[in-house]
């Protein structure tokens, strides 16, 4: 079987997992969430195989163009959720996260994204490619989870304000806390991969650790937004709606750094 078969299989498994999770969401049957989790985990394994095959086939890290890095981001998001679910025993955000994962996988499989493996341009021939991209994207995957739980928080909070009690044990307060935990895991990773490894690699490849290139500036902006989240929360005691809003903006900034900059702003960082 080839890489694209495994990729497709993982895609199908994720869609199936999403179906189970959503059915859990509306029926509240614990069993369905458990099946959803197993299916998602199987999807993750199959996806891992696809990434390994891709690496073997191309002879380089599996994130050198948009197709590859979208696929990797989807993989990292599932990985991040598995960690959060195992740690905090929450199941309800999974369905929504699966929607993001499915969107990423669909975008990766769209005909707009060239899928053939191409040899590495000289600038990307470095082990920093592995370190810089993988750690950054795993950090962003945790931001994606915080994004989901923050939106769920806003919905749950609005409901609770109208006097309706939460249907499950996943109260607004718990969602708020999971957003914070996810950001607390993702922020150091994003700092390490995106900023520190990025600077080291830029210094090695371009001769300057910081060039105020649009991609660099946008990752700094993303970093500032999450720094704002952490300071308003830890020092000023903000919680709830304001925190959720900052977490949502932060993830959108990360998304713009990842996609938008490539298509809208020209710069040095013209790979993916």
């Amino acid at each position: 079987m080839t890489e694209s078969t495994f990729f497709l299989l993982a895609f199908i498994l994720y869609a199936l997992a999403a179906a189970f999770y959503f059915s859990h969401l509306f029926s509240n049957k614990e069993n369905r969430a458990r099946i959803g989790f197993s299916v998602a985990l199987t999807g993750l394994l199959v996806h891992t195989l696809a990434l390994i095959l891709r690496t073997v086939e191309s002879g380089h890290a599996p994130f050198t163009n948009m197709y590859e890095s979208l696929s990797f981001l989807a993989w990292a998001s599932i990985l991040a959720f598995v960690i959060i679910e195992a740690k905090y025993k929450v199941k309800r955000p999974a369905g929504y996260l699966m929607l993001i994962v499915i969107a990423l996988m669909a975008l990766a499989s769209s005909p707009l994204m060239p899928k053939e493996t191409t040899p590495l341009v000289p600038a990307l021939q470095s082990y920093w490619l592995w370190l810089h991209v993988s750690v950054t994207l795993i950090g962003e995957a945790f931001f994606a989870i915080a994004f989901i739980t923050s939106i769920m928080y806003l919905a749950a909070d609005a409901k609770e304000r109208r006097g309706k009690a939460a249907k499950s044990a996943l109260t607004a307060e718990k969602l708020d806390s999971i957003s914070y935990r996810s950001i607390a895991i993702g922020f150091p990773l994003f700092t390490l991969g995106g900023l520190v490894f990025g600077m080291v690699w830029a210094y090695k490849a371009w001769g300057s650790y910081w060039s105020w290139d649009p991609k660099e500036v946008w990752s700094l902006i993303t970093w500032f937004v999450f720094a704002l989240y952490l300071h308003t929360r830890i020092v000023m005691g903000w919680k709830g709606r304001r925190s959720a809003a900052i977490a949502i903006i932060g993830f959108l900034a990360a998304l713009f750094t990842y996609f938008g900059v490539n298509y809208l702003l020209a710069g040095l960082h013209s790979y993916a």
Binding site: V196, M199, W206, V217, L228
Partner: protein, 451 residues
Amino acid sequence: MKALLNFFTSVRVAITLLIILICASIVGTLIPQGRSTQEYLVRYGQLGALLERLQFTRLYQSFWFVGLLALFAVNIIVCTLERLFPKFRRTFQTKLETEPKNILALKIKDKFKVGLSAAETREMVKKELRRRRYRLREVRTDNRSCLTARKRVLGWFGSDVVHLGLLVILAGGIASGLGSFRQDLTFTEGRTLSVPGADFTVRLDQFVTEYYPNGSVKDWKSLLTVTEAGKPLFQKTVEVNSPLNHRGYVFYQSGYGSDWDHPSLEVWVKKKPDPSYLKKAWLKIGEKTALNGESLVLNAVRFIPDFVLDEKNQPASRSLEPNNPAAFIEGWIGTEKVFSGWIFARFPDFSRLHSGAKEADITLELKDVRAPSYSVIHVAKDPGVSLIWVGCVLLMVGLGLAFYWPPRELKIILEDSQGKTEVTAGGISVKAREAFQTEFESIINSLRIRK
């Protein structure tokens, strides 16, 4: 002074500065940076001049942006120091909790009785906590033992280490901004260049471009020799992602090209009356080349890689690519110029050599043109770099401490009550409440077994 200090210790100011920095940075990515006045005029019209005056066109180096960063740095210093001393006090001069009701006000807490004497219970609690790598402090009153157990206290200082790291990075940025030296050195093979300000020279021994089977570039490799005081010191191949480092100067492979000012031209000489006549020669610009066994000397006066006639009908080059190579050749016998004219590699029929007003009976064909490739090496000396790496390490150590090394604190009071011992326990772990709760319950369970 006091008011100023208060201003800077305020977290609101930090938040406001962060928001302004975010907005300013966004603006800087929307306006292209560092372009010409002309371009801004075309792009923004009248507004262009205003943007330039307000330094929006080189925003990240502007006085106001650097000023904002400086304010931010002062704010970080003041806020960090202000919180650091109370934190030290809390860590090293613990006031032990002696009131059970204060412990019961904590979020994580428990109260139960153990069927052991106070002394036995105390030893058991201590053993259990030491096993879990807690550090203990203890005071005893007549019927109470008050314990405080902590681990991972370094986590409290994570944010301070992060802030220190950021300040070091900013300092590195200042050092880079003020003391950096950068220059592009353009080498052809065999050429030696001196590095401005440095007492060594660098020679390019060899430059190769490697290709993948599909024709795209795989790598550029420049073999450089560093020479100091006339003696070759060492040799290294510089590639993208693999620079050469010597005495604080770093040499990067940054560009390449073909040097069409110094081409080699292969010319075939034919005679119209004699179809079997053919002589071949390689010519260089400005060098007279004698034709084998002939008195004729050829001189390539000028070469144009992409020949075109400009508005004034003068020969010019449209690009630096050899799309339409042309050479102006003179033929000499002794001190007499016997012919001259342009010859074209792509259009041999256009070649016309004139001897005075007549056409010469000799034809020249430009068969091949080659240019030596040159390598562009970016040389940089950046005094801020080591500070940046130190700052990055501090930043990451600090973040690791702050988010992955959350401190845990347990407060336990043991009270003697008729041969049994009443245990009141509570704990705080702001950043890892769930994990701490689990550990707390497991500690309590291990004590309760002896009930």
